[in-house]
């Protein structure tokens, strides 16, 4: 069970895994996530499903090594198995025919964005995707993004590929060109989603964001992932993970994400010592 069928390095320390999980694959929808554990002492790690194949019984996950647990995933190879994969969790993203949809992704956020824009395209929306990364080497899943969209804009902070600047800059240019945009979906780091929402709020464009709050069980049991949306407390695991971005308290989310920073750093340092350095620069 939960065997890794394929593993591919998409960018330094960014891995794509195809995992055997037939029950999850059968019922997965865009926006759903899974909880995985790599070993008996492992954390429960929430990962958004990047693709699913009910026929083959597999789900695709994209993981960036940022801490001990994601480094553990990075060390796994095809043929290895996860101890646990539970899901599909969370509400599926509400995807309706609205006209033109702009998908905005930062970093590996493009992976969970893919099933959403695919479905948008399938039901007849015009899909423009903006994918941003720090630099050219960190842009992932370029072909898949082009296939799933009508138009794609790549953006890099350092100008090494495509638009020179942040995704918000590219989005604002689109808006200023007078393009009709009916909905924006933004997935990526908290500050990137926040900046996107600040921009779209100005232009009154409905914006959905997918939040990556800290979770333990992922089934509504612990309340660790609570976020303030429109002044109300919501659990991102069962009420989300997608919310109306204009109503999300991003500062609170960013602060809550940082609560265990010291422990995360300690765990990562111990893991790095054990492995003789980080693997960020391996290709």
């Amino acid at each position: 069970m939960f065997r890794i069928m394929e593993k591919r390095l998409l960018a330094p320390a960014v891995h794509q895994l195809v995992v055997e999980a037939p029950l999850v694959a059968r019922r997965a929808r865009p926006g759903n996530f899974v909880i995985v554990r790599t070993n008996e002492n492992g954390e429960r790690i929430p990962l958004t499903i990047a693709d699913y194949d009910p026929e083959k019984g597999t789900v695709m996950l994209v993981v960036q090594e940022v801490g001990k647990s994601t480094m553990d995933i990075g060390m796994m190879e095809a043929g290895n198995s996860f101890t646990d994969v539970a899901g599909p969790l969370g509400q599926a993203t509400p995807i309706k025919k609205v006209g033109t949809v702009v998908g905005v992704a930062g970093g590996i956020g493009v992976a969970p964005l893919l099933p959403q824009i695919k479905l948008h395209k399938e039901i007849g929306n015009h899909v423009i995707t903006i994918v941003g990364a720090r630099t050219r080497d960190l842009l992932i899943l370029k072909d898949e993004t082009e296939q799933a969209s009508h138009e794609v804009i790549f953006a890099t902070d350092d100008g090494t590929f495509g638009y020179h600047g942040f995704v918000t800059g590219a989005l604002e240019e689109l808006i200023k060109q007078g393009r009709q945009i009916d909905e924006v979906t933004a997935i990526g780091p908290v500050r990137m989603m926040q900046a996107t929402c600040n921009l779209t709020r100005k232009y009154n464009i409905p914006t959905i964001v997918s939040l990556n709050a800290v979770m333990v069980d992922g089934t509504g049991m612990c309340g660790c992932c609570r976020v303030t949306v429109g002044g109300e407390t919501k659990f991102s695991c069962v009420d989300g993970p997608d919310f109306d971005g204009h109503k999300v308290d991003f500062d609170e989310l960013a602060s809550r994400q940082a609560f265990f920073r010291d422990e995360e750093n300690l765990a990562r340092e111990l893991a790095e010592q054990k492995r003789g350095g980080c693997r960020c620069h391996e290709k």
Binding site: A86, V216, T219, C222, G223, T233, V238
Partner: protein
């Protein structure tokens, strides 16, 4: 000549100074000599009032008589005729308000220590004869060796799905397996046991005990599938409609934590008791970084609420290194819902009680974390719907206490995942599953429910009682169908 009544056996415990810094079990159990002496205190009265206090109908005088003769394993078998989880019940049942409260001896003297005896019988049997299931389950679960119906009744062959592996689900599954049915349990977490695993701490219910009781249920032929959320991974109606299962029992528990809904509750350092205890118990955060899941505890901790969960959270805080732990509760000592034993244990360990006190808001430390909590003093007014006197704020009595960590333990609601995804399952106003008879039949034919998902948060033993009644209801229904 009136027989001499010796004093009730006191269970030895780790001293408060020692135990407040370790996670080992607090209560150490009786020794064989003490167990026999205690069993002999039972006067074997004809009226047997104790049995009426037991939600799972254990034949208490009978098992105690066997204990008095030193027949511990036979006593364990006697208990297991009615109760599949005696080592757990012996530890966490509120015997003082059930069997022991009705004990005839207790009218004049201290009641017989039924809980301590039950625990001893189960522990002794496990240590001396670990394979006490009716047959060992096949390891791959494919060709399971079923028990022949323990009561000799001929039954139709049927498969039953049990949703949730907490006390209600385990009991229902064991009862059905003993009747000869095929039973599969589906558990959403990666480990079995439900609240026995994620909620009750190691120092009160060692997880090795939970493992062994779950293994016993497996040994009856029950298969357990973890990581399956019925409602999302599988659909309950589909499982029945496809004919995979002829009946189902839902025991998904009270898994949705309530918050106070006061300002500051989303600051870092505010946990629900569920989150705090799940990190420590299920994920073993007290052994971080050996285990990957962290937990953070400040020097000064306030636990809001006064039930068993609140006591567990307070005592866990001490063991994680907190120096100053307070319980803040809006009513008075008499209304505290926790077992007296747990309140005493907490106080012995140094937990302070701030009663008739209600939190008003949690104040930031300016860095996103908790700095202080503003509270208001309360007094008791007229009785409310629960029959307890309603606490009302004393105007102008606000005060502030410095605190680093706040743990909210004011109860849990029903987890909505299964209910919301299962068409046709009737719920009440609070989101609990509605049952139509004493067995727990729901609005969907062939589906029963019991435990906290029906009643709201209650005790392990009441959930077990519900699991047992549902098994009976399922059996009657299946036999009427064939």
């Amino acid at each position: 000549m009136p027989r001499e009544i010796v004093d009730r056996a006191e269970m030895p415990k780790q001293s408060p100074e020692e135990r407040r810094s370790n996670f080992r079990e607090v209560a150490l159990g009786l020794d064989p000599e003490l167990a026999v002496r205690e069993a002999k205190r039972c006067i074997q009265c004809k009226t047997r009032p104790c049995t009426k206090g037991c939600p799972v109908e254990v034949e208490i005088p009978e098992f105690i008589a066997l204990m008095a003769q030193g027949k511990f394993q036979e006593a364990d078998a006697k208990i297991k005729e009615k109760n599949s989880l005696p080592a757990i019940c012996g530890r966490v049942c509120p015997q003082e308000s059930q069997c022991e409260s009705l004990c005839t001896l207790g009218k004049k003297f201290e009641p017989v220590a039924v809980g301590a005896l039950e625990r001893f019988a189960a522990d002794w049997t496990r240590e001396h004869n670990p394979e006490s299931g009716c047959e060992k389950a096949s390891s791959d679960g494919s060709a399971r060796s079923l028990c022949a119906a323990a009561d000799g009744v001929k039954r139709p062959s049927a498969r039953i799905a049990v949703i949730g592996s907490g006390p209600a689900g385990l009991t229902c599954a064991a009862e059905l397996a003993l009747m000869g049915y095929e039973v599969d349990i589906y558990e959403s977490l990666h480990e079995t046991g439900g609240v026995l695993r994620y909620g009750i701490p190691e120092f009160r219910l060692p997880k090795a005990i939970v493992n062994q009781e779950v293994d016993y249920v497996r040994s009856l032929g029950v298969r357990i599938f973890t990581n399956v959320l019925v409602g999302t991974t599988l659909d309950l109606n589909e499982m029945l409609d496809k004919g995979e299962y002829q009946a189902a029992f839902v025991g998904t528990g009270a898994g949705l934590p309530y918050f106070l809904e006061i300002p500051g509750e989303n600051l870092n350092g505010v946990y629900s008791a569920n989150e705090f205890l799940t990190r420590v118990n299920l994920m073993k955060a007290y052994r971080f970084p050996e285990y990957d899941t962290p937990v953070k505890i400040g020097k000064r901790v306030v636990v809001v609420g006064a039930g068993n969960v609140a006591m567990d959270a307070a005592r866990t805080s001490l063991r994680l290194g907190a120096e100053d732990v307070k319980i803040v509760y809006r009513r008075s000592r008499t209304e505290m819902p926790a077992r007296l034993e747990e309140i005493e244990n907490a106080e012995e360990e140094g937990v302070q009680m701030f009663l008739l006190t209600n939190p008003v808001r949690i104040i930031s430390d300016g860095k996103g974390g908790v700095g202080a909590m503003e509270c208001i003093k309360m007094e008791l007014g007229e009785p409310d719907a629960s029959g307890r006197r309603r606490p009302v704020p004393v105007p102008g009595s606000e005060f502030t206490m410095d605190v680093d960590t706040v743990i909210i333990a004011v109860g849990q609601g029903p987890n909505p995942l299964l209910a919301r995804a299962t068409q046709g399952l009737a719920l009440n106003r609070k989101g609990n599953i509605e049952v139509r008879d004493e067995y727990g039949a729901t609005s969907i034919p062939g589906v029963w429910a019991g435990g906290d998902i029906v009643t709201g948060a209650a005790t392990v033993i009441s959930a077990m009682g519900a699991g047992k009644r549902a098994a009976r209801g399922i059996d009657i229904w299946l036999r009427s169908q064939s």
